[in-house]
Structure formats: C-alpha cells, structure tokens
C-alpha cells in the first residue's frame, strides 16, 4: 500500500482523538537539528469542524486485537487495515514539518499483536525522528495500556507529552463497552508516567545531562454521552485526575455514533456538543480559576444549566459574594466574576496599582462588561444607568446563541397600539368556519 493511502486511512481513524495541542514544551531551535517548540503551542490550521490542526495525528496501525464497542477499529468491524513502517512515518513527519504544515507528531495506535509489540514499533519511530533526523519539534504519544513499564519509560524520554485514554467516565461503562480494558490497566501507566516525570524533574535539577521525561506533562480523554454518567460524576473524576495524577489536561469528546449496538446510543443521536462545551468551561474553572467541582455541581443539580455557563450559574447561586469592588478585591475574587477572565483580571491588578479604575477605564483596558457589569462596583458605585430586573439580567448573561431559545426573547416590532389579540370567540369562529 502507498504511504499516501495509509495516511488517509490512519488519519481518518485517529481523528476521534480530541487532543491536538502542542503546548507545554519550550525548546529553542539548535544548530544541527530541525525544529523547536513554543510553550503556548501553535495552531497550523483549523479543520471544517473548527478544531485546531496542530500535529500530524495518525494511528501507527489500525489492525486492533481488541473489540471495544464504540470504536471504529475494533476487531469485529469489517474495515480496511493499514500500518506504517517507522521509516515511512518519520519521513512523512519531517516532510510536513519542513513545509510548516504541522507542529509535530501525535502518535497513537491500535493494539496490534500485543501491547508490547505495538509499543516497540512506536519507540522505533520516535527514535528515528529524534536521533536520525535530529527532530526537536513536538511529539505527543499515546501510552498503550498493558505495555510493560520499561517500554513506557522509553517512550516518555522521547516524547513531549504522553497520554493514556481513560475512555469512559465510569468503571461500569468500561466493562460494558470495552470488555478488553480495565480501569486498573488504564490507571497503572498513568501513575507510572506521573512517577517517572516527578523523578526526572528531580534529576534535572541535580544533573546537567539528565533527560526530561515528557516535559509537557500528560493528558487523557474521555467520551461523554455514550454512557449514563452525570456531569457531576465526570467533573469529580476530572478533578481527581488533576489532583492525583497531576495531569495537564483532561479532554472530553462528545460521543459520535459510528456503530449500531444495543449497548450504545442509536445512530441518529446527535453528539452532545453543548454538554461537551459546558464540561470544557468547567474544566477551565478547575484549572485556572480556583473552583472545585463541588462548588459548580452538587447532588441536587448533577447537570449543567444549558442556558448559563458554569461560572454565571455559580454567581447567580452565590449572590452574597457580590458585588466585587474592582479596585480592592484580591485576584482570586476577581477571577470569580462572570465575564472577567484570567487576562482581564491580570490587567486589572496591573492597572489599579497606580490609580483607581472606573467603568470607562475598565473598558479601555479591554475588560468586556456585558456580563461583568452586574457583579462589580468601581469605587463603590454600580455602573450608571444599570437597571437590574429578572428579565434583563437573564438577557445580559446568556450567550446570543442560547438567547434565541429563551421564551419571549425574540425581537419584536414596536407598535403604538396593542396588537389585536385573538379571543376565545375568534378561535371558535375560525374552527367552525364562520370567519
């Protein structure tokens, strides 16, 4: 098979992996080698679904020996199978990288023959790239659950970021839909990567020639909407993963029905994109805004509000915390104001050092007041002319897309006279044909 055909098949099979970030590694270019990494990551293109294309995301092989129900590459599916050779994939990566199409390689694989065999082929690919082609760009590699610890360590020394997919939010879902995988087999490599990274951090401080282990950290992803798990369960799991395994990112992927199975949602079910969006918003609140999962959702409200983002929702349920005085509030409290993000909060705390801010000043430093105005004061004063009523508060807080769904929110033509209202009588006349 031609490399070209393999690329199309194996890229198509890898596209359901959501992570395509190239962030976390900062490495300047060096004489005699090719490539560099920038800490915030670089997006090289955006596909028609609006997702960033940053890495060449392919499977090494899709000839899987497992039979996970939700997966296109499962053993029982009648499907074209292909596999790269390490040399082919390394050459392709370099050719794309030199043309600035990509920021690096995202390598995953189906479990081909055995986890160890697959892992060895992946190591060979990365070794070729790093040693023979002197590639200094970004490499994200999937650890294959079940591979030996020694192989995973070798992968980590060659890659920037490693990930192990937790696949489904609950153990119960996993045993139903992915009978060959267990929660334990997934968490073991995760712990291994965490420990190896911590050890390498220590060594880097002590020895000059220590090699960094997955310097951009580890990430994971889970499928949302294939099982009956609630948002609360998912968010709690996410928080536990950040705290216990020191993950850099947890990705969520709305379940897209590809196969019909009595255990899975029907093929016509639309992917729960809004739910995925809310989970990502909450994920950001966990990582950058100092929120805890229990603050955002609880047993009484285990799902996100579809109309309001999680931060707004929290603010409306905790009105006793507001208004926040922009000129004196500590950074942590500014971060909890709906509409104020990390950048705005930092700019506020930089700008207020010299003089006190008013609403015009806030606008000039780039703070968007659409939502924030209801929750802040400047020098003890609310924004002039701001009227708070149930209706305009809700209108001010929901996003434009959601506003269209609210009852009574459609714009209407103003009229001097009340529109004639249909009375019971008119309706009867209409129905009986008298009109």
């Amino acid at each position: 098979m031609e490399v070209w055909d393999k690329l199309t098949i194996l890229a198509d099979a890898a596209k359901y992996d959501v992570a395509c970030t190239s962030s976390g590694s900062d490495r300047a270019g060096a004489k005699g080698s090719l490539g560099s990494c920038s800490a915030p990551g670089i997006c090289h293109s955006f596909s028609a679904d609006g997702r960033c294309v940053s890495l060449l995301k392919v499977l090494f092989s899709n000839a899987c020996s497992y039979d996970c129900k939700y997966c296109q590459s499962r053993r029982s599916n009648d499907f074209v199978r292909a596999a790269f050779t390490p040399r082919e994939l390394a050459e392709l990566t370099i050719a794309f990288y030199r043309r600035n199409y990509i920021e690096g390689l995202f390598l995953s694989s189906a479990v081909c023959r055995s986890p160890d065999w697959t892992c060895e082929r992946m190591i060979e690919t990365l070794r070729l790239l790093r040693e023979e082609y002197r590639f200094r760009g970004y490499i994200h590699v999937k650890a294959i659950p079940g591979a030996s610890g020694e192989l995973i360590e070798r992968l980590g020394l060659l890659a920037d970021r490693m990930s192990v997919n937790i696949e489904l939010p609950s153990e119960e879902g996993l045993s139903r839909l992915a009978p060959d995988k267990t929660r334990e087999a997934i968490l073991r490599p995760m712990a291994l990567i965490r420990n190896a990274a911590a050890q390498s951090q220590e060594e880097l401080v002590k020895y000059r020639h220590a090699r960094p282990f997955a310097p951009a950290g580890q990430s994971t992803q889970m499928i949302v909407g294939a099982t009956a798990d609630s948002d609360l369960q998912i968010l709690r799991l996410t928080q536990a993963l950040y705290r216990k395994y020191q993950l850099k990112r947890v990705f969520f992927s709305a379940y897209i029905p590809l196969v019909s199975d009595s255990l899975l949602p029907a093929l016509e079910v639309k992917p729960p994109l809004l739910r995925e969006h809310r989970l990502y918003q909450a994920d950001w609140l966990l990582r950058y805004y100092g929120f805890a999962a229990e603050e955002l959702l609880d047993e009484q409200n285990p799902s996100f509000n579809p109309l309001l983002d999680p931060k707004c929702n929290w603010a409306l349920n905790h009105l006793e915390e507001f208004p926040v005085e922009v000129n004196t509030a500590p950074l942590e409290r500014l971060l909890r104001v709906p509409g104020i993000g990390v950048r705005s909060a930092q700019r506020i705390s930089a700008a207020r050092r010299d003089r006190s801010l008013d609403f015009d000043g806030l606008r000039r430093i780039g703070v968007v007041l659409k939502r924030a105005q209801y929750f802040i004061t400047c020098c003890g004063r609310m924004r002039e002319g701001l009227r708070i009523s149930q209706d305009n508060l809700l209108r001010g807080l929901v996003s434009e897309r959601c506003a269209a769904d609210l009852p009574g929110m459609q714009p209407a033509q103003l009229s001097l006279f009340d529109p004639p209202r249909l009375t019971q009588e008119d309706v009867m006349k209409c129905l009986t044909g008298q009109m």
């Binding site: 090719l34 609006g50 700019r347 930089a350 010299d354």
Partner: protein, 263 residues
C-alpha cells in the same frame, strides 16, 4: 503638555524619523495634529512641517528610552512600530510624551488612552505574527523553503526570529507582498531586504505530491457531524486562506487518472 498645535509633521516613515518627530515636538513645545509619512501630497488646511531625519537627534531620544520610559515601554514602542494601519506615529509620540511625564510606570497604566491605543496596536501586530507562525506554508524549491505572505502589519522581524531558529539548517525565503520585503536566511545568517516583486517558481512533482497529501490529510481529519464553519473562520480568518495550501479546493488528484502521473 501643550494643546494640540495647528501643524502637521511629515517624516520619512523610519523609526529614526519618528524619534526626530518626538525631538521636534519637545524642542518646539507643540503637539502635531497629525504625522504624515512618505512623500504623497495631501490637501490640508494646516501647514506641514518637514522633519528631516537626523541620526544624532534620533540617537539622543533613543538613549533616553530605557532610563526615562523603562524597558517595558521600549519594547511596547518597538512592537507597535510594526503596526500597518493609520496613526501609528502620532500614537507612539503621544505615548512617549505621557511616558516622559509619568516615568516607567506608564507601561502598566493600561487605562490611559495614550497607552491603550499603542497597546492595542502591539496586540494586533503580535496576534498576526502568532497566526502566521502557524499559517505560513513553505514549498521546497530547489532545496530551499519558499513562501509568500500578505500580512497587514510588518511582521517579518518577528517571524524571522521564529523561523530562523526553527529551521536553522535550511535556506529560507519568506516574501511579504504587502510591504514588498523579503526575509533571506541561510545557515546562521538572516537579513530582511526590500524586494519589488517575487513569484515563486513552479513546484515540482515531489512538492505537488506533498501538497496533495497534506490536503487529503486535512480533509480526512474533519468530523462531518461536528461541522462548524463559523468556528473555523473565527480561528482562521479568511484573509489568510489565499496562501494556505489546504484551502485552495484544487481538484482531488486521488480520484483522477493524474494521480499515477504525479507519482
């Protein structure tokens, strides 16, 4: 600060020229209503004062920046000077006047209108440069990597830093069509020069094959059920599409007999 005087400055558009405008503005105790660059005649009711570029005066102003305005303000001015829109010179002049008045802390006084204008200029420049670090597409032509871009702002100096570090063993040519300038790089030496026009040579078979492969890869990664063109356009504005290989909608070679010819 004096009220705005009824005079327009004209400088040659260089950074030194701008610094001389700052010098004159202080020497004459006046704030110009506008600063023109270039030689084009413009109808105006106000008298135009020609500001000759004097390296000595420029050096005096330049030397005062680190001490009086601070390093952060200096960097802000340098980046904002790459801005390609209107009003760049006057905005920087006003920022510098505010800086001489308030000292180095001016860089963090983001709510000051003078600072805000220059700050948003720098943001526009740096955003575009960041976009282009991803959106530049090189073609390999006779061993060198060649690309053409059409940015709004003069981002070549910022891109040079990025690409010369990343591809330090390659030969590069990056042509900026808007500003008619090109970045030349060959191992360990880079320079940016004016260049009236440039058309890259026709790509060879090998190059075409990689372009097509990239297009195929790009289209294979999109998930149909999640299609969201508004999101795509938001992240990747359409003005960049003209120079993006994957957005050209060329015929699909994989389906036509030409495929065999290409390989």
């Amino acid at each position: 600060m004096p009220d705005r005087s009824n005079v327009i400055y004209r400088s040659d558009g260089s950074f030194d020229g701008l610094l001389c405008c700052v010098f004159e503005s202080f020497a004459r105790r006046e704030l110009p209503a506008a600063i023109l660059t270039g030689a084009e005649e413009q109808c105006s009711l106000l008298p135009v004062r020609e500001i000759p570029t004097d390296p000595q005066k420029a050096a005096r102003v330049h030397a005062s920046i680190p001490g009086r305005l601070g390093a952060a303000t200096g960097r802000l001015i340098e980046s904002a000077f790459l801005y390609g829109g209107e009003g760049r010179e006057l905005a920087i002049l006003e920022l510098m006047r505010a800086g001489y008045r308030l000292g180095p802390r001016v860089a963090s006084m983001l709510d000051l209108p003078e600072v805000q204008t220059v700050f948003s200029m720098r943001r526009a420049v740096e955003n575009e440069a960041h976009h282009l670090t991803g959106f530049v597409r090189f073609s390999e032509i006779r061993g060198a990597l060649v690309s053409v871009i059409a940015p709004r702002h003069f981002v070549l100096p910022l891109l040079a830093e990025h690409f010369c570090g990343r591809f330090c063993e390659e030969r590069l040519l990056l042509y900026d069509r808007t500003h008619r300038a090109a970045l030349f790089y060959q191992p360990y030496a880079a320079q940016i020069r004016e260049m009236e026009s440039f058309e890259p040579a026709a790509p060879d078979q090998e190059e075409l094959r990689f372009r097509r492969m990239w297009e195929d890869y790009f289209h294979a990664t999109a998930i149909g059920t999640r299609a969201n063109p508004a999101c795509q356009m938001g992240h990747m504005p359409k003005r960049f599409w003209a120079h993006l290989t994957e957005m050209q909608r060329q015929p699909d070679f994989r389906l036509s007999p030409e495929k065999t010819f290409l390989k």
